[in-house]
Amino acid sequence: MNGAERPYTLVAELTYRCPLRCAYCSNPTRLARRLPELATGEWQRVFGEASALGVVQLNLTGGEPLLRRDLEALVSSAAGLGLYVNLITSGVPLALDRAVQLARAGLDSVQISLQDVDSEGARRIAASAPLDQKLIAARAVKELGLALTVNVVLHRVNIDRLPELLELAVGLEPERIELANAQYLGWALLNQSSLLPSREQVETARVLAAAAREHLRGRIEVSYVAPDYHTGAPRPCMGGWARRHIVVSPDGLVLPCHAAHTIAGMHFDSVRDASLASIWRESEALNAFRGEGWMLDPCRSCERRMLDFGGCRCQSFHLTGDPRAADPACRLSPHHDRIAAARAVPSGSRRPLQLRTPSMSR
């Protein structure tokens, strides 16, 4: 590790438990080991160590972080450290009284996800994601003067309703609307043939998002994440491997992203065994793909190698078997035909959606 790696954001995955069963979830489809979730005190120690490393943003996520009963205590200690505290939630179990407690504890912002324009659509993709509860949550967030982001993961099933989704989102008066195409990892990869939108759908969505960004400029920031399966260019995943973000899994693994522990053969260290600082500096797994020494062709001679960092290691592993390979989403990748094949799946051969199983929700 050298001076180029300075973490700004700690992504604390407080739990893998979730009342929703989104078919596009990028959480692992199965876990190699299932250790208990970190306890309150352990998380508080991690927050302190992260702050000392230079972290200024804390994203409390999951799973569904609201399922942690100690969430208020966690928010409170993070706010005490001067961290900017963001809650990333489905909004489902968030009523006004809980929101008041969280705001009082020092929460700065809330990101609420919308699955579809109605509960019926949400049921198809997530088994249950009652829209009315989400709207109540969003209103509570606004009433308390917290910053609100509305997040919509786009895929073949909901992308044609983007105009209605935008209208619904704007009505909640957020400061930010995040329209992100699904990333095909975890459950999303399993369901990819049913979730990947067509090129026409993606193009329409891009145009609509650009128009909304222009129209709402100054009032609401609209961001749009294009699907790398269609752009021909890899995503600069997490701004580079173990460079700007630290992800800590529910059981304490220190990861460069939320899916890296699905790469076979990599060993990630746990905050239960060592300090965050020593892991950040010395972890073999975190150092594995830092810088550019690990790159293979075509990445190592590519002029964009320090802009996109060769794309997503997890995607490379899951589609090629080698995490060092160029992300197949890149048109220069020798494995780009896998992506092209995924795009070309005829609609008749699409498999039914396999929703995230609740077996993980211990």
Binding site: G54, V56, Y84, A147, T149, E175, I220
Partner: protein, 319 residues
């Protein structure tokens, strides 16, 4: 409005014109409200005077266009009085002269006002659109467009009171123009209304008159929109947090799930987004602080504010 094409009676037409124009008149524009509540600073008053001067200079031109549309000596004799009112019987008198004096009282240079160097592009567009509207319209519609002046006397009364109370620094003579407008606009408005009620005979003509008047109210509103935008006092949104980064020593602007590491100038600009001063003053301040030309500072300030605005990190301008 019913679906019928029968012409409206005089009183119906008068009511129609009044309701449409009163509903859209610029007296309720946020900038006007702020002015009359004494919330404008010296610079904002100056920006308004300089830009409104451009509107004043268009008035004799559109009145001359109206004159040229009429075949009736009596109408022309009467309407020509408006030209004399605005331009004066001799040099150094008339409405435009009074307006220039008002500008001087506000610290503006007469030459700068006359050259229109201070006029905002959107103000110029709005005022030119008024002249074009009058140029292209039939006589009765062109006259109808001027009927906003029936609402002017009441606004002038309020303004005189408000200015004497809140902007005494402009001096006692500053309201002289507004005073002349109370009597002139009353007389002119009455005359113009009488002309429209008499000469808009078919329903189509009447509807066209209403449309012209509505368009005129929009032009007045756009003028204030442009002035308000120019006087925008950027204020950092509440959810943005500015702090010193312990690792780099630089200023760090944090907002939901993201942040910007700021260089020295960017940090200075963000720190000046207090809602107290406008963009122009931010430029002036930085220009004198670093002893560089305004023209060097300004593009950077605009870019930074634009970057903040595109992230919705500036409060939406007051209403």
């Amino acid at each position: 409005m019913s679906g019928t094409d029968a012409p409206r009676s005089r009183s119906e037409l008068e009511h129609w014109l009044k309701t449409e124009s009163a509903a859209r008149y610029h007296d309720t524009h946020p900038f006007h409200v702020a002015m009359h509540e004494g919330r404008l600073g010296r610079r904002e008053i100056g920006v308004w005077i300089a830009n409104r001067y451009y509107y004043q200079t268009r008035i004799p031109i559109k009145d001359a266009l109206i004159l040229a549309k009429s075949e009736d000596p009596a109408f022309r004799r009467s309407w020509a009085r408006r030209l004399r009112d605005q331009d004066g019987e001799r040099a150094g008198s008339g409405g435009l002269e009074l307006w220039l004096r008002l500008g001087e009282a506000a610290g503006l240079e007469r030459e700068a006002m006359i050259s229109h160097a201070l006029v905002l592009p959107d103000v110029r567009r709005a005022c030119d659109a008024y002249v074009e509207l009058v140029r292209d319209a039939a006589l009765v519609e062109a006259v109808a467009a001027s009927l906003t002046e029936t609402l002017a006397p009441e606004l002038m009364r309020q303004r005189i009171q408000a200015w004497q109370e809140h902007y005494a620094w402009l001096g006692a003579d500053s309201v002289a123009y507004f005073r002349t407008r109370i009597t002139n606009a009353e007389r002119d408005g009455r005359e113009a209304l009488e002309f429209v009620l008499t000469n808009a005979r078919t329903f189509e003509q009447q509807a066209a008159c209403v449309r012209a008047l509505v368009r005129k109210t929009e032009i007045l509103w756009q003028l204030l929109d442009a002035v308000e935008r120019a006087c925008d006092r950027p204020q950092l949104a509440r959810r943005a947090r500015l702090l010193s980064d312990p690792m780099s020593g630089k200023r760090l602007l944090l907002y939901p799930e993201n942040g910007l590491l700021l260089n020295g100038t960017a940090a200075e600009i963000v720190e000046l987004c207090t809602g107290e001063i406008d963009v122009d003053q931010i430029v002036s301040l930085l220009s004198s602080r670093h002893a560089v030309e305004r023209s060097v500072v300004e593009p950077g300030v605009r870019r930074m504010l634009d970057a903040l605005r595109s992230r919705a990190l500036l409060e939406v301008p007051r209403t």
